[in-house]
């Protein structure tokens, strides 16, 4: 369920590091907690975000959740499909419904995040 090559945060974000680029999204657990997603608020291309700071939010009908940046970097791309189809976050949160791509300032930051196994254990304990 949780891709092995991704790293995960306690706030339920994932990051896929490929060289100097990071792709960021929210986990399946997060989308399940939120319910039907109606809107995604993303930063502008060019924004520089630090690890741990909010990069935007995801909304369901009755809740809003901030999305925290797992690793520092500069936004190079935002997912164009989400404006029209926010519901894809419910169906494919780890794949087609990625949120942003960053040019990483320190790719090594990802090492301190959780592995897929650790994350599964973490959410298992939360329940």
């Amino acid at each position: 369920m949780y891709p092995e090559n991704y790293r995960y945060t306690k706030e339920h974000e994932w990051v896929l590091v490929e060289g100097g680029t990071g792709t960021i999204g929210i986990t399946d657990h997060a989308q399940e907690e939120l319910g039907d997603i109606v809107y995604v608020d993303l930063p502008k291309v060019g924004t520089v975000i630090e690890q741990g700071k909010s990069l935007g939010s995801v909304e369901s009908v009755k809740a809003v959740s901030d999305v925290y940046c797992p690793v520092s970097g500069e936004v190079t791309e935002i997912n164009p499909a989400l404006a029209d189809k926010p519901e894809s976050l419910n169906s494919d949160p780890h794949g087609a419904a990625w949120l942003v791509k960053l040019k990483l300032s320190d790719p090594a930051q990802a090492q301190s995040l959780m592995s897929a196994a650790d994350y599964e254990a973490y959410i298992g304990a939360e329940k």
Binding site: V38, Y39, E59, S60, V61, K62, A63, V64
Partner: protein, 437 residues
């Protein structure tokens, strides 16, 4: 007491079920130190008759049977009979905010119609379900512009209602939102575009103008829009006289239109309750404060309405909400909706034309001070008489004259603001002019 539907025997039964022997025991857990020390110093309850009498006596101490030439943000317009008939229905009067859509379709449908009519009147794409009033809609619009542009400064015209500007300042002070004013042209009463240009900068989030402005002048909205947009600011157009929408071209160049609907069958009622609105372009939708009603389907596939985009609001977003507003002015907005339905497309235009004609007749008798085009209000002064002298003489004839402007504009201390609506009699206007001589 007639509003407490329990008999003593029922109370005894309920207290038994609660496991207490007296009602006082229900409060036994309160610390002695917080309990009230003596009964409230308020007289015992009185009968319906006495209550009505009390308020009738107070009403008699107010103006009764006076003709009035006051406007300045609150207007005397006829209230169609249907308005109170509709809002007096218990289903509208005593219902709650429509959070439970299945049993609130009456309220939700009328709000959806209201939102639509406001868009039709103002030329905007989306309107909310009401703000407290026109004066608080101004800072809400200013804060919206800050959210939308990411900039912090506000430029507001002096010809915006003085009390509206006061409210703006109270809100702006603690938002880190600097507010600066720009003036009006002495001769025309319209905004001073040069002054606006001079004071404009790249840090300004919004330029706020009113049209018709406080002096009644239909203002230079297009030109103000150009200056604002050139510098990356939004144009906010305020209105206080909603009837003007029957005739005056809506400001297509505005980014936000905000104002007051009191003219639409809302009693002047010594200052409130009224109903404000905020309307804007599609792209600023998510920055709009207050409630929004949207169209959807129910599970059986029938059209149904519900509150929507609630994630902007305080009960979800809390400290990051677009506003702290919760209770708004739903019943008042319903009055406006009925008014707009009764007058309709032709009626609102005819009503506006009547207002225009009455005020221009008056202007033929008492010369306007400003040369700009005006709707149903204008500024005037009288040779050899101060506003107070003029108004004193008018009161003797049971006429309340125009608002002396000295309290708001020292440079206009010799002038008054006169308003004539469809309810103003030609004979009273003649009398006002007579007394001016």
């Amino acid at each position: 007491m007639r509003y407490l539907p329990k008999s003593d025997s029922e109370r005894r039964q309920m207290l038994d079920a609660c496991g207490v022997s007296s009602a006082e025991e229900l409060f036994a857990h309160l610390p002695e130190a917080v309990r009230i020390q003596k009964p409230l110093a308020l007289a015992p309850g009185i009968s319906e008759y006495e209550i009505v009498q009390y308020f009738r006596d107070r009403a008699a101490e107010n103006a009764n049977g006076y003709a009035s030439f006051l406007g300045a943000g609150v207007y005397n317009h006829y209230r169609p009979v249907l308005v109170d008939t509709v809002v007096s229905r218990g289903e509208f009067l005593t219902s709650y905010t429509p959070y439970q859509a299945e049993i609130s379709q009456g309220t939700l449908t009328t709000i959806f119609e209201f939102q639509t009519m406001i868009c039709q009147l103002t030329g905007m794409d989306v309107a909310n379900a009401s703000m407290y009033d026109g004066s608080t809609a101004v800072p809400e619009a200013a804060m919206m512009a800050v959210r939308a542009t990411g900039k912090g400064r506000v430029l507001v015209a002096r010809s915006v209602h003085p009390e509206y500007r006061e409210v703006l300042r109270t809100y702006a002070k603690h938002q880190g939102m600097p507010v600066e004013e720009f003036g009006y042209v002495q001769e025309t009463g319209a905004i001073d575009l040069e002054d606006l240009e001079r004071k404009m900068d790249g840090l300004t989030a919004s330029v706020i103008v009113q049209s018709p402005n406080f002096f009644g002048i239909v203002d230079q909205v297009k030109a103000a829009a150009e200056i604002a947009h050139k510098n990356g600011a939004l144009l906010v157009v305020i209105f206080t006289e909603a009837v003007s929408w029957g005739l005056v071209e809506p400001p297509a160049e505005a980014d936000i239109v905000a104002g007051e609907l009191q003219s639409f069958a809302i009693s002047p009622s010594y200052g409130g309750p009224y109903a404000g609105i905020i309307a804007t372009k599609e792209k600023y939708l998510r920055q709009v404060p207050g409630r929004l009603v949207g169209q959807s389907l129910d599970s059986r596939g029938k059209r149904a309405f519900c509150l929507t985009l609630a994630t902007r609001e305080q009960h979800i977003r809390r400290e990051k909400a677009t506003s702290n507003i919760c209770t708004n002015q739903a019943l008042i907005a319903l009055m406006a909706t009925v008014f707009m339905t009764v007058y309709g497309k032709e009626g609102l235009r005819e009503l506006a034309l009547q207002n225009l004609s009455k005020a221009h007749y008056l202007a033929g008798r008492v010369k306007p001070r400003f040369s700009g085009p005006f709707f149903n209000e204008f500024v005037a002064r009288v040779e050899g008489k101060s506003p107070d002298e003029w108004n004193k003489a008018l009161l003797k004839k049971k006429i309340i004259g125009g608002l002396p402007l000295g309290r708001f504009y020292p440079e206009l201390a010799d002038s008054v603001l006169l308003c004539a609506t469809e309810m103003t009699k030609g004979s009273d206007m003649d009398l006002l002019a007579e007394v001016a001589k």
